[in-house]
Amino acid sequence: MAVMMYWEALQRAQDEEMTRDPLVLVMGEDVGVAGGTYKATKGLYDKYGAERVIDTPISENGFTGLAIGASFIGVRPVIEIMSVNFAWLAMDQIFNSAAKVRYMSGGQLTAPVVIRSPGGTAHQLGAQHSARMEKVFMGIAGLRVVTPSTPKQAYGMLKAAIRCNDPVFINEHELMYNMKGEVPDGDYFHPLEGSEVARPGRDVTLFGYNISVHWCLEAAEFLATHHGIDCEVVDLFTLSPLDRAGIKASVSKTHRAVIAEEAEAPVGVGSEVIAIINEECFFELDAAPLRVSARNVPIPYNHKLEKAAIPSAKDIVHAVLKMFGK
């Protein structure tokens, strides 16, 4: 196992897959000569050339549609959309073409594209560069949505997504590209369905995904040390389909659930997880599940306002203490 940064794990996955299969290409704004805004495509342009490492015009719907069309005849494109906020411009092609073509062609065509894009609030980027869009993508039938929380997941999910025959949206985070972690040395393919227990516990399940897994782990440490509450942290690395069995198993064990998401609460991951808990294991509950989520506002520029809009480990601690009547 080598220790590497999240962006290095993404770069290695793409490099390996491009070496293996000449029909794998990467495209996006500044992915080539400039080496990628987050360095995830660093060095690939020099190694594979302009035909396979494509600096696109700033035309998100156009180049996403182009990648989807190429995927119809066997190309395996990895699209980097510089910020998930810009993915709104490509929603027509993602939603109407990639996600639906298999179904509306009666299984004749498929769009095996990978769309990588960071969503989330970084450092004072303002309302139009700070949105989280996973709630939108996870509601689209025909699209897989995964969101790696570690370099290992980032590497293994991207490898699996490139080889998977479905369109896969990989939700990354601008604040996580320099995170370090162990990554397996050989070919490793992370599942594109499921969840995993990031920290076992008895008293309450904290559900997180992507960056909020780390908030949950931080909150769990604090609650164990200061309040004697033993939290289980479940990493929902797949948002579509959500892991019903994994959610049920953990809640059936702890009988309590808190869902932490960076996005606003309405129509989000938290509401879906609570719906699944109701459907799968309502009578296991000892307390009403709680959501910890962003305030329902466009993300403000001012640093204090921005911080106040986004949840944190502290908010998760408060939610758990409230649940336990403390």
Binding site: N61, F63, G65, V75, M104, G106, Q108
Partner: protein, 330 residues
């Protein structure tokens, strides 16, 4: 085109006309649901271009007025009609409908119902063909109104920058749904809009199949020879409304009469009669034979085919048992 080619082309265009008219009847009888966009009046466009291309080898993609383009690529008209009837034997197994005919085996990459959506998909197919070193080309048929979408400009730009083997065919029928082109579009001649992308673009009569064929031959040869994208504008007219839900009240009767005098089928027929290649009786016999084929084979097949099973409602959403979904070390 040889005289024998012209006779075949006449038959195929007449077949296209009768097929679409029969769809109209089936729609009125409520055998076909949803939206139905018909092709009468525009037959020479798909016919002429596909005469110059290599059907089944070249890749074709289009919008929702797609039945005839699919058939021109080699799709079985029985499967197309069965799709309109929503049957399991339909080209998309009853999941697509009129606007989503697909026949990937014959490289008909589908009908899409978001206006302008196929522009970048066609460029992407061209990119794939280029990567694979194929001599096939990508051909995208869309109407004039699609050119007011951003995808038109984004795709032309990328096709030129990356020198992609794609032919964009604009069937300019002068209306975007029910709005006449000069009321919606600053520049009525669509080929002029393409000059901003340094792509060769020409405008020709889309009612004369021989003219379309000649222009398409130049276009196809250009694209296939590796010289990059090409834009071909065909001036045409649809006889019916945009779709079946369209009363067609927005068009002047004089305009309709003028275009009906330039019917692509009648023009070719009269030319062949004048040249002594066929007689009017031959033409009538051809028509009778086509009508019989449509009724006894195509409609019969669609009527008698089974509907999809509700048990398979969720089939085709995602790939079945894709091994990489489970992950692991390999």
């Amino acid at each position: 085109m040889t005289p024998a080619d012209k006779k075949r082309v006449l038959r195929e265009m007449l077949f296209a006309r009768r097929f679409e008219e029969r769809c109209y009847e089936a729609y009125v009888e409520r055998k076909i649901g949803g939206f139905l966009h018909l092709y009468p009046g525009q037959e020479a466009c798909a016919q002429g271009v596909m005469e110059a291309a290599r059907p089944g080898h070249d890749y074709v993609i289009t919008g929702y007025r797609d039945h005839i383009h699919a058939i021109k690529c080699g799709a079985d008209p029985k499967a197309v009609m069965a799709e309109l009837y929503g049957k399991e034997t339909g080209s998309s197994k009853g999941r697509g409908g009129s606007m989503h005919i697909f026949d990937v085996e014959h490289h008909f990459m589908g009908g899409y119902a978001l206006v302008g959506g196929p522009f970048p998909l066609a460029a992407g197919i061209a990119k794939g063909l280029k990567m694979k070193g194929s001599d096939a080309i990508s051909i995208c048929f869309l109407g004039d109104a699609a050119n007011n979408q951003g995808t038109f400009h984004e795709s032309l730009n990328m096709a030129k920058v990356w020198n992609l083997p794609v032919l964009y065919v604009c069937e300019n029928n002068l209306y975007g749904i029910g709005t006449r082109i000069d009321r919606s579009t600053a520049v009525v001649d669509q080929y002029k809009r393409v000059c901003g992308y340094d792509i060769p673009a020409v405008q020709v009569d889309g009612q004369d199949v021989e003219v379309v064929y000649q222009a398409a031959k130049t276009a196809v040869d250009h694209v296939r020879s590796g010289k990059g994208p090409y834009f071909l504008e065909l001036m045409t007219y649809r006889y019916r409304g945009h779709s079946m839900s369209d009363s067609n009240a927005y068009r002047a009767k004089d305009e309709e009469r003028m275009w009906s005098k330039r019917d692509p089928i009648i023009m070719l027929r009269d030319r062949l009669v004048d040249a002594g290649e066929i007689s009017l009786d031959d033409y009538k016999a051809m028509d009778t034979e086509i009508l019989h084929q449509i009724e006894s084979e195509i409609i019969k097949f669609a009527e008698e085919s089974p509907e999809p099973s509700v048990n398979e409602l969720e089939k085709y959403v995602l790939a079945d048992n894709d091994p990489y979904v489970r992950g692991g070390v390999r």
